[in-house]
Amino acid sequence: MTEPTSVTTWNGGSVRLAEVPPLPIERFLAALEEAVTDGARVCSLFALPQEGGPLCLVAVLAFDDDGELAVFRSEPGVTAWPSLTLTCPQVHLFERELSEAWGLTPEGHPWLKPVRFAPPRRERGEPRPAAGVIDFYRVEGDEVHEVGVGPVHAGIIEPGHFRFQCHGEEVLHLELSLGYQHRGVERALVGGPNPRSLHYAQTLAGDTSVGHALAYCELLESLSACEVPARAQALRAIALELERLANHTGDLGALAGDIGFLPTASFCGRLRGDFLNLTAELCGSRFGRNFVRPGGVAFDLDAKRVSKLLERLERALSETREAVQLLWSAASVQVRFEETGILSQEDAVSLGVVGLAARASGLARDVRKDQPAGLYRFKQLTVPVLSVGDVYARARLRQLELERSGIFVRELLSALPPGPVKATVGPLSVQTLAVSLVEGWRGEICHVACTDAAGRFASYKVVDPSFHNWSALLLAMRGQQISDFPLCNKSFNLSYCGFDL
């Protein structure tokens, strides 16, 4: 029998770093490749500085069919390796990130460019390179033209630069440059946890406050072996699903707005606010800030507010249903949505696409089902999956998820378990690695923390679903009309700051 190459854990689990066998870099890469061939997804890949300085690579892979996670670690002292991107495209951004942040060299990487235009981690005094100032992939030819959009956009959205290579109206290639909002959150979290850590976590992506806060809190609870009371877990799930409801509703409205379909655009814009107000009823913040706390939640719900919430939820859900129904009954909408921005299942698999975008392309990937943690271990959600992968599928899936989440929240609210809403979080275990996955409304949020000998964060790695999915948007745009870009973009609706960290 060969000795194990990895340690198996699960969502919300933790492993002693010493138990993870350090593999020579060749074996580390071969093991990753083999696991990915077997159907694993790369959730996270990062460099972990060891005592004294040398780096080792750590990878967290998800085996969705088994509901397990595998942690791999290389021997310390890695500086270069033959790039894995060629055989395993889903690590392409991780390798670029390692190269940018730590000066490591994935040799033969086909497109080794900066990810966030951040100065290398070891040279703290270095001035930050100007974001987006770099060569882009170019298509040469007589009738080919280049269109650059951003970083300043016409709408109220985040900064990012898109570079289109077009032939007439057809997009041959699209490249994206982000990093304008790089704040260095991962670096700021090192040395924590401290009172600011939670704030850092929940502002990783402003529209996913609950999702990221939950991922952070589950990490702390895993590292301190804290058992979260059942009532708190139910309230957390309610907050997470309300976030999903608000964002999906807003997205459906925005999709309608992008094609100039007024009725749904106007109604969903307001209804998104109604769902946000439900979250405000829960905790006083429309975006769920400071609701999820390590060990539980900050506020309890009394019976009066529960019935008020239920009543308002019911009304918002039925109004949303009506507003969205208009989309499916207008032929002019269907013709715009269908066969626009198709992401093939093959591409989705090879890029490691997560969340809604994956489910619209026929991949039943959902952390709530595959790697359940917290309340989702006891209550299963049905996960709708569509196979076409076009804008229509992504829009339709949002509506289906609205229905499911609506029912789920209603069930939870009507039968809240009794008990306290907060437990105390003790000191963190030392030299331990913990992983937490949360299915935010965009998809899988992955936080991985390693603690040092004093029980502080030695490294904190965040992977927002946008990190995987931006590449999917770029692929889906190939061969599309450039005028359909806003629609495709909105159908993915990815986060810029979640990517920039």
Binding site: E146, V147, E169, F261, R336
Partner: protein, 318 residues
């Protein structure tokens, strides 16, 4: 109309001039109201109160009070765009009869001048857009040029139906109530086709949904709006006003064909005509509120369909 002036008595001349002034005053002051009405209808469908109907006038005032900002990369072509754009539409408006009120200026073959003026205005708008060197504006210019080339056959084919029953080849004779009423009597089916075809032209020429979305902020999807992104202040005001005037001209075109009703009383006819134009604007608002935009690739289909309708009109009318 002007050549008959010298045969008129002094009193008749004064009354003629007064009517001309009223005609021009209405044609100059009414157009922005149409934009306000469309906006109000759209707001109603969206469950909002919406800006006041007179907001477009305030917007124009605001723009005219501002200063200019010109990019250093532009030349006189960029500055000429808005001016030529407005002048050409204004001249086209002079050739257009408004209901039973004859066009202030009419001569045989002014149909070609009408189309030529619109073409010239468009040429300068496109040239001004290209002058900025922006990739967005180049894209918008390409779209505008393509679509307007496809829109022109629809206009001419439709006018061919009308000219058969008119007493001469001027817009005035073809489109004033007298001319179209006669055509309706002869071939109602053909006129329905032409009216629908002209309505499609109105949507295309004025960048309305389903062809273009005048309210969008997404520069990659725009046609007309993206071409004027770099204009500012009074120059942009000229463009906005020109756009309103163009909408009014095309609305008159549609109303002349579709609603050739006269009471015999000039004042009542004004009310009737402007009422019909307002109703048409509301129709455009309703359409915009209930329909999504076409995919850009499908816009030519709409234009070809509009031309085909006019061809059917010719067949029915012959």
């Amino acid at each position: 109309m002007i050549e008959v002036l010298h045969t008129l008595s002094r009193l008749a001349m004064v009354s003629f001039l007064l009517r001309l002034l009223l005609h021009l005053a209405i044609a100059v002051s009414f157009p922005p109201l149409l934009l306000g009405i469309i906006g109000k209808v759209k707001a109603f469908f969206g469950g909002r109160v919406g800006p006041p109907v007179l907001q477009p006038y305030r917007d124009l005032l605001r723009l005219f009070r501002k200063g200019f900002v010109f990019s250093r990369t532009t030349t006189w072509v960029f500055r000429a765009g808005p001016v030529v754009g407005l002048i050409t539409v204004a001249l086209a408006m002079v050739l257009m009869p408004l209901g039973s009120h004859r066009a202030p200026l009419a001569f045989g073959g002014d149909v070609l001048v009408f189309a030529g003026l619109l073409g010239l205005g468009r040429f300068f708008t496109v040239a001004a857009a290209l002058d900025t060197g922006s990739s967005f504006e180049g894209m918008g210019a390409a779209r505008e040029a393509t679509f307007s080339a496809l829109a022109e056959p629809g206009l001419f084919l439709g006018l061919m139906v009308l000219v058969r029953h008119a007493t001469g080849a001027s817009l005035d004779l073809m489109l004033s109530t007298e001319g179209t009423a006669r055509a309706w009597e002869a071939t109602p089916g053909a006129l329905v086709m032409v009216a629908v075809s002209f309505f499609a032209l109105l949507l295309v020429e004025n960048s309305r949904i389903p062809v273009d979305d005048p309210a969008t902020h997404l520069e990659l999807t725009m046609i007309h709006e993206v071409m004027v992104l770099d204009h500012s202040g009074p120059a942009f005001g000229l463009i906005q006003y020109g756009a309103a005037l163009k909408l009014f001209v095309f609305a008159s075109l549609v109303v002349n064909v579709a609603f050739p009703v006269t009471t015999g009383n000039p004042e009542a006819d004004w009310v009737l005509f402007l009422g019909a134009v307002v109703a048409l604007a509301m129709g455009v608002g309703v359409l915009e509120s209930t329909m999504a935009r076409l995919r850009l690739l499908h816009v030519p289909r709409l234009l070809v369909a509009s031309s085909i309708l006019s061809v059917f009109g010719i067949i029915l009318g012959s």
